[in-house]
Assembly symmetry: C2
Homo-oligomer: 487 residues x 2
């Protein structure tokens, strides 16, 4: 036998108590597996019945509206000193299911997420059960490889043979990453020295881009004033000529333009900016081209519709949320990069020695955690991988194509009906909120409304869930008419 192994052992639970409190037998774990697994199984049954069967049944309500005060009482929210028996807890589970919005319901047209995919759901349950962190190969061997494969698949769809990327907690954070990478590439000293001493940096994005561009500019210390809004055409698409004018103006005022954030699928209108045209300008003025394709990115699966993103392969970065049109489940948001110089890691790394030891027994390039500004990072890739495996790229293409067909059908049907107009009438500013209130309280469907610039409130129908049928489109039109009566 060799000499004894010396090592420094630290216990991280903190300092030790002065008197050892014998709360219980130390050989008795505090968790009762059999009871726990029974509870979990009962919960699973409730999920199947209430959320997945009833929750997707058109004969059932989309929501069971309660006023906040009433709901708080129904849920018995209060956290107490003592625990509750299993039966009472199962009642809580049922109540949570009952009073939550059924976002998988075919008549949920309210948000850019909807529907259910069972393979994705299986991936999500498995992810939750395995409960690990996507920062090292050691701790997440399967997920490190799965994330890399999913990113490769998305890269190919963008049109890149190589690149880099990472899953982020939502598209807003993905957009912020792009900003941070763009300015770091231009001024690497920013990481250590901050923005002081640097010229004023400006970002360009369309007037109809997502609000996260401004939120990101504020968080990153750039300031919302330095986000220049470029005009859009009637279809909501960025006007390249206006972009060029604004770049020139900013330069003439002494600012340093560094990033154009294009949008593929704007939040309200679903418009796609002309990427090829913008790419020309980005090359001419040497700007980082980012594409916020959180919503629209999924058209890349469709040979019919991917022309909407023509030129995306010329971008430096793309943010794409499969939790939206692809129904991968919240959260699932990828930031894709054309870069092959390890920019992501150079920009974000802190090289913590407790986590990213360089003397490991495997290739430490598999430890992707230092590419992130997070430490704990949730596994968001498995669900997408499993869904993609299950239906193939062709199956995802069919879903995207179907969404366009439904949209087209809805527009055609609307044109035939008296009360629907692709027009604006000042008299309805207050009507949309009233219809919405009736809709929620009856719970028959959910669709969002919003004002747009100088226009009044209008409804935005989001119709892409793989669960919906033509009948649901007809229902939407009939229901808006019915709810709008007697106002």
């Amino acid at each position: 036998m060799c000499p004894p192994v010396y090592m420094f052992v630290e216990i991280t639970a903190g300092t030790q108590p002065k008197e050892p409190a014998l709360l219980h037998d130390l050989n008795e774990p505090l968790i009762e597996h059999a009871e726990g697994q029974l509870f979990l199984t009962e919960t699973f049954k409730i999920i199947l019945e209430e959320v997945l069967c009833k929750g997707t049944d058109v004969k059932e309500k989309v929501c069971e509206w309660k006023e906040p005060e009433e709901l708080a009482v129904l849920l018995d929210l209060e956290l107490r000193d003592t625990g509750e028996p299993q039966g009472k807890l199962l009642k809580r589970v049922k109540d949570v299911a009952k009073y939550s919005i059924k976002t998988s319901h075919p008549r949920f047209f309210n948000q850019l997420f909807a529907g259910v995919d069972y393979h994705s759901m299986a991936g999500r349950f498995l992810t939750e059960a395995l409960n690990t962190n996507l920062y090292t190969y050691e701790i997440a061997p399967v997920f490190v490889l799965v994330e890399a494969e999913v990113l490769r698949g998305m890269h190919r769809l963008v049109g890149w043979t190589e690149g880099d990327g990472i899953f982020c907690p939502g598209g807003s954070i993905s957009n912020m990453y792009a900003m941070n990478l763009a300015r770091y590439q231009l001024f690497p000293e920013i990481k250590s020295r901050g923005l002081w001493g640097l010229p004023r940096l400006t970002i360009f994005t369309s007037a109809e881009s997502h609000y996260s561009v401004k939120k990101g500019a504020a968080l990153l210390g750039i300031g919302t004033d330095h986000v220049i809004l470029v005009k859009v055409d009637d279809g909501g698409r960025m006007i390249p000529e206006d972009l060029e004018e604004k770049i020139k103006l900013a330069k003439s005022e002494g600012s340093v333009p560094f990033l154009v954030s294009c949008t593929s699928g704007t939040t309200v209108k679903g418009a796609f900016d002309p990427l090829d045209h913008i790419a020309n300008l980005c090359e001419k003025y040497m700007l980082w081209m980012h594409v916020d394709a959180a919503w629209g990115g999924s058209v890349l699966f469709s040979s019919k519709h991917r022309h909407l993103m023509k030129g995306v392969d010329r971008a430096n970065s793309v943010a794409w949320n499969p939790h939206k049109m692809l129904v991968a489940g919240l959260q699932c948001s990828a930031l894709l990069l054309r870069d092959t110089t390890n920019l992501l890691k150079r920009c974000h790394s802190a090289s913590a020695t407790y986590l990213f030891q360089q003397d490991k027994f495997y290739d430490v390039n598999l430890d992707t955690g230092d590419k992130s500004v997070q430490c704990s990072r949730k596994v968001d890739c498995l669900k997408l991988w499993l869904m993609w495996k299950a239906v193939g790229s062709a199956g995802l293409e069919a879903r995207v194509d179907k969404a366009f067909i439904h949209a087209r059908y809805l527009v055609e049907q609307m044109k035939k009906r008296e009360g629907f107009h692709l027009l604006v009438s000042i008299s309805i500013t207050l009507v949309a909120p009233l219809i919405k209130e009736r809709m929620m309280k009856e719970g028959t469907m959910m669709v969002g409304y919003q004002p747009q610039e100088n226009r009044v409130n209008f409804f935005r129908v989001v119709a892409f869930s793989p669960l919906i049928s033509q009948k649901d489109m007809d229902f939407f039109l009939n229901e808006i008419e019915r709810l709008g009566k007697n106002m």
Copy 2:
């Protein structure tokens, strides 16, 4: 009947295809519920058997180590054009479970998360199934109320009767929020104008604080050079006298100190900074006091150990991750604020009219999404609420106390053994990685090692899972001895 309801209806799936492709009958949803639910049920069985039964059984391995190249082949990672049959997909689910780390295993001592709580797990499955977004009451009525209640419960433990807060995707982001709020409070114009024109801002944190403080400073445009590291004592606690000296020095150099980020439970040593003493200095120099209690915050449940965080009620903000010591499951991280002036919302809001309409039929203060820099925000509160309901504050207190008892036991047992020393010997620098390699390849347990300043590699035993018993502590010691033989 009233005049027809005029409204502007937009379809966000994009422009319409020129030729309507009839891929399938539009009245046939693309999702087959019965088949999907069967798949989900089979997956649930695999989760129960492989992850929750075998994965927590001490007779089974913690990990089934495979080299990356081999694992990639075993998993058949490739994403193809066509989908796969259900049987093959279930094989994937099994393989993912098989080759993933069993973080709930009693011999997983590797990270600051471990173990399993079945009520939390039930909450997580339910959250996944309900698939919604925590930004408005409209879309997440139950979760808006649950988040507020859980935050109230955590506030009370900190010692506040009111306050504000939000769940963030991990402690690093929570820490960044604190930085952003602190500087916004001092210089509100930063949100629109950015850092230009402002004096250099400096942050103070201990030399053993988490790396996210530096990552945050880099992302926020402050720069890592402006994070001043304060010396620690032998126990790894920030030395207040050194903090005061460094504050004075920074001021004398023309910088503006604005934030002290204290740590309650440092990542490597589990040290608790002396909060009361630091609070005195923060008051004296009018600095924002942030407490990174990602790991240690859970001691607030314990009447025996909460003295470690004495003075936390004087902080402006606290980051606390129940996904660590409380076993709530990744991700579960709360940022708690003492502020009652809506600072969080003022600092982060973009007031998007498509989401946060002000003419809603309910109290729009319940729409908490604009407090976040995210748009999509995952629901991370339900699992904690359900677990807290199930075992009560007293049950969570017992878990924290047990973790301390195990730690104490381990230290005592180590003292009795020949090969273990709370000393450092230069000869073992390479021994820890070798032991770790043997450990992973045999899969018997997992524990992390790291260097610390000028010390060599040592193992950090994280022993707080509610599943562990005294026998697991004994096993740890025996196993390190066994693995260290013949080196």
